[in-house]
Amino acid sequence: MSGPRLVRCLLAAPLLLLLALPPATFAHGEIAQMAGIRMRTIHWFDTQIEPRQVAVNEVVTVRGRFKVSEHWPDYVAKPEEWVFLNIGVPGPTFIRLDTTINGMRQLQSTALRRGEFYDYEVKLKARVPGIWHVHPLVNVWEAGPVIGPAHFVEITGDAAHFVNEAVLLNGERVEVEQYGLRTMSGVHLVWLLVGLLWIGYWFRRLPVMMRRYVAVQELGEAEAERRLIGWQDIIVSGLFLALVLGLTAGIALWANARYPITMPLQTGRVEAPVLPLPGALAPIDIEIHQARFNLPRRTLTLDLTVANGTETPLAVGQFVAGYVRFTNGEVVEARREDDYDMVAPDSLSVNRRTLAPGASTRLTLQLEDAIWEEQRLVDIVAEPDLRIAGLLFFYDPAGNRYVREIGTRITPEFSITPAGSEQLDNLQLVRSPLPGMRPDA
């Protein structure tokens, strides 16, 4: 990882630690999380981040689908409590105009149900020029961010031309980034003046500190108080007390008149409706016999029996675990758009081209790609819970898509040809597409 992209994406975080730590930035932190958890929380698919190049003030739409895993780890806080559909970008380089989940607007937090599919759409308005890595993500209360796949979006133009206008409930049209700023700075200035006057009064004739210190040392506290504090000091202090009370009341009353109708900060949770995904209802049953992860080959091998209860032949086209997609090049067309793209094209192979309708078929699936390493998913062999989950996508000759989630314990293999894995070498891999099958977006 090198070059200005990385610099932009990564520089923000450590530099911010310098003074006051605003917890605002985010970069490629996704791979730092435990692989097993990343593969068992939210499975992202159909992600679209368009357009990829915009000018300041133009709109970018992030949309897609996800499934909240049925295999959500017990030791991770549950999404049924509080979650927030968020965007992972370095700071407010975009502003968020709108978010919907299954068609319902989500200005605040929500809840998601394990086992359900959700459609989401987030509209962003470009604000700061640069090349930014844009992720959808879901913050889960007490658990942290669950990150989705990302693409780079380039914003061109001049940040000074950014506008964000809003209409208040009273009809006033305001420039959001300026509204109230003069009131706030004015109030700060008034009080700064009062503070400086008070300090200035005590330091009006130098020297002050040493003279008073020596007086206290030589005369004792009681006598020094009598000599150092006169009636004038007491009267001035009384005036300052009155000034503080008067100014506080006066400015607050003025603010009440200037901003007459206000309301408390709004809270609460709006839960999105659950809408079934058609392809998720098809009668397909999957039984997992064995799952092995071969570390040196970066290969996951799944030994399954799939009962195809539909009336059409099916082919295995795609496996989605967390934000990573493994595709079968014979069925689903995919390509990597940049070095950080979280898709592994043509990495899924299967020893049966089709699953006949109404029959149970034993299959061996192989997911072999460097993306296991790039996204540090290989760590599953070194984690306390050797478990993964993911979505298997099946396609029929008409191009319809069917989805099932699978979840299983895995057996790690630490050498290339472990005993008892001969069937790996005897795979009859699919090399030509099914007739009538069309590529997936």
Binding site: S109, N139, L169, G195, L196, W202, L206, M209, R211
Partner: protein, 260 residues
């Protein structure tokens, strides 16, 4: 202290000649002590206050959508009062100067403005009206003036401490009122602060992490802010006493005498 550590001090004691020959010279040297005090306010005391604020107040101070009627006006003044109370002891005991709280508040505002402008606005890109710090110089002046008039930590805590907590909310009302103007977004009406919280993306700060007022069945006729202000006042009395006591322990005469 430095002399004692000098290995040559025992072998060849320097001639006992004072650096200052006349009262006039001493007077001028004393003025320099004062002149050193002012940059100290801005850099050391202000920086320390901002650092303490980042550790303890944090998000309530940073973001407008955390400035509710229940937690913000209760916790912020109590936490802001700690450093002034600690320093007040030494400033009063050894100098009879009622300026410690105001010095911290002024330093805090100046350092905080730099931090918000450079870190939050220029570098991270948040609008300034969204990250303006709170204002509490008036409450600090009130505390200092009370100490001067009463010349007693006990009464200052009771009166000045109470008003320090009580005045925080009305004093800050002008800095949050614009942000509490309602905006209609789709079918819901939310405050401008909520709306900006939604718009200006904070990846690591989802909406639900805000520790702010939610509804409760135990209300005082809906007067949340005044009740909170009074509660803050009462707790501030206690905070003042505790931290003045800590100040008395950390500013022992032996330490101060050696330093000066």
């Amino acid at each position: 202290m430095a002399l004692e550590l000098n290995p040559q001090a025992d072998a060849a004691p320097p001639p006992a000649r004072p650096a200052l020959h006349t009262a006039r010279e001493q007077w001028e040297a004393w003025k320099n002590v004062d002149l050193m005090f002012f940059p100290l306010i801005a850099i050391l005391i202000g920086g320390a206050a901002v650092f303490l604020g980042a550790l303890t107040i944090g998000d309530w101070s940073y973001w407008q959508d955390w400035r509710d009627r229940r937690w913000w006006p209760l916790l912020t003044p109590l936490l802001l009062l700690t450093l002034p109370a600690v320093l007040t002891y030494a400033f009063w005991k050894y100098f009879k100067l009622p300026v410690a709280a105001t010095a911290v508040a002024v330093g805090y505002l100046l350092s905080q403005m730099i931090s918000r402008y450079v870190n939050f606005h220029l570098f991270t890109g948040f609008p300034m009206n969204w990250v303006m710090p709170e204002v509490w110089i008036g409450a600090a002046v009130f505390l200092d003036a009370t100490l001067l008039i009463t010349r007693s930590f006990a009464i200052t805590g009771l009166v000045g401490g109470f008003f320090f907590g009580l005045l925080f909310y009305p004093m800050n009302w002008p800095t949050v009122a614009p942000m509490h103007m309602p905006v209609q977004v789709g079918e819901s009406v939310i405050t401008l602060a909520d709306y900006m919280g939604f718009q200006y993306i904070r990846t690591a700060m989802p909406e639900y992490v805000r520790i702010i007022e939610y509804g409760t069945l135990r209300t005082f006729g809906g007067h949340v802010a005044p009740v909170t202000a009074f509660v803050a006042g009462f707790f501030a009395i206690l905070v003042y006493y505790v931290f003045v006591w800590i100040g008395s322990k950390s500013a022992r005469p032996a330490f101060m005498t050696k330093l000066l």
